[in-house]
């Protein structure tokens, strides 16, 4: 299987992830984001959120070291990829103690001729659902695959 339109519809298995307070803290620290809503429970309970939440791009951690319908594709080479675009839709905030059931699917693949050769754009949509099967975050990543590198 080549990295081309034949990948459309390819799905990962469903996997689970749990959100941990310490992980939120390490993530916020790595970004350099010291907003207390991510760190300070005493503060967070006084806000409309009524508790600590995760920073918006913490959602990226949900897809790392996880089943990925592109990375698992035969012939895939990590060194050829660049991150082109990223979108997150938040249906509700991510909170410590949450557990999610997550699945990714390749929803689109298209070709462009770039200055450095043929590039394939791969759109991966990932949905994280909670225990009630309600969506928490929908992520759309566009990965640029450099065919002529």
């Amino acid at each position: 299987m080549a990295i081309d339109r034949s990948l459309i519809g390819r799905k990962s298995e469903v996997y689970t992830r749990e959100v941990e307070k310490g992980h939120i803290r390490r993530f916020a620290d790595a970004v350099g984001d010291d907003h207390p809503i991510y760190l300070d429970e005493n503060y967070a309970v006084t806000t409309p959120y009524r508790g600590i939440i995760a920073p918006p791009t913490f959602a990226t951690t949900l897809t790392m070291d996880a089943p990925n319908p592109l990375y698992d594709a035969p012939g895939f080479e990590l060194r050829r990829i660049l991150h082109g675009e990223q979108e997150y839709v938040y249906h509700r905030p991510m909170r410590p103690g949450d557990k999610y059931w997550i699945q990714s699917e390749i929803t689109d693949v298209y070709e462009r001729q770039g200055s450095s050769g043929r590039m394939t754009f791969i759109v991966i949509e990932t949905v994280a659902r909670d225990i009630n099967d309600q969506p928490v975050v929908t992520a759309r990543s566009t990965i640029v695959y450099r065919q002529d590198l």
Partner: protein, 141 residues
């Protein structure tokens, strides 16, 4: 910065920028560990060179993380972040200084929602990551 309230916003309004400290290699290692993105493009020069680059580059998601920080700093806990969307336009290298900038592009009085155009701009004035944020205010004070 003071958290924005819905009533203070106007379409076209420029938002107070946020200048981040220079990106350095320690931050890239920390971000790799915290995000779980261990693509060696961001931490190992020889791998980055095999990918056609001079050396390591920052995770695109780190610049998006800065923009997420920026949006939260702008609205504080007065509004919930409903959507973030960006395009990674230019690579970020260790030493680069990114400034987050924003502008109000749409408001919905009924829903109390706002859309911001957001961008991370480097020390040369080049946009590295840009897109939009959609926020919903909890209530008006």
């Amino acid at each position: 910065m003071d958290a924005l309230t819905f009533s203070r916003l106007q379409v076209g309004m420029e938002l107070e920028p946020l200048e981040k400290p220079p990106v350095d290699r320690v931050q890239l290692v920390k971000y790799a560990g915290a995000s779980g993105d261990f693509n060696p493009l961001h931490t190992v020069d020889s791998f980055a060179q095999s990918a056609g680059l001079d050396g390591v580059i920052a995770h695109g998601m780190l610049s998006m993380g800065f923009l997420g920080q920026y949006v939260r700093a702008l609205v504080g806990v007065n509004a919930d972040i409903k959507q973030l969307k960006v395009r990674f336009q230019r690579m970020v290298k260790p030493g680069d200084v990114l400034t987050c900038r924003g502008k109000v592009t749409a408001l919905n009085e009924e829903e109390k929602t706002a859309t911001f155009e957001i961008a991370a701009v480097n020390q040369n004035g080049e946009t590295v990551t840009s897109g939009s944020a959609h926020v919903k205010f909890f209530h008006e004070d």
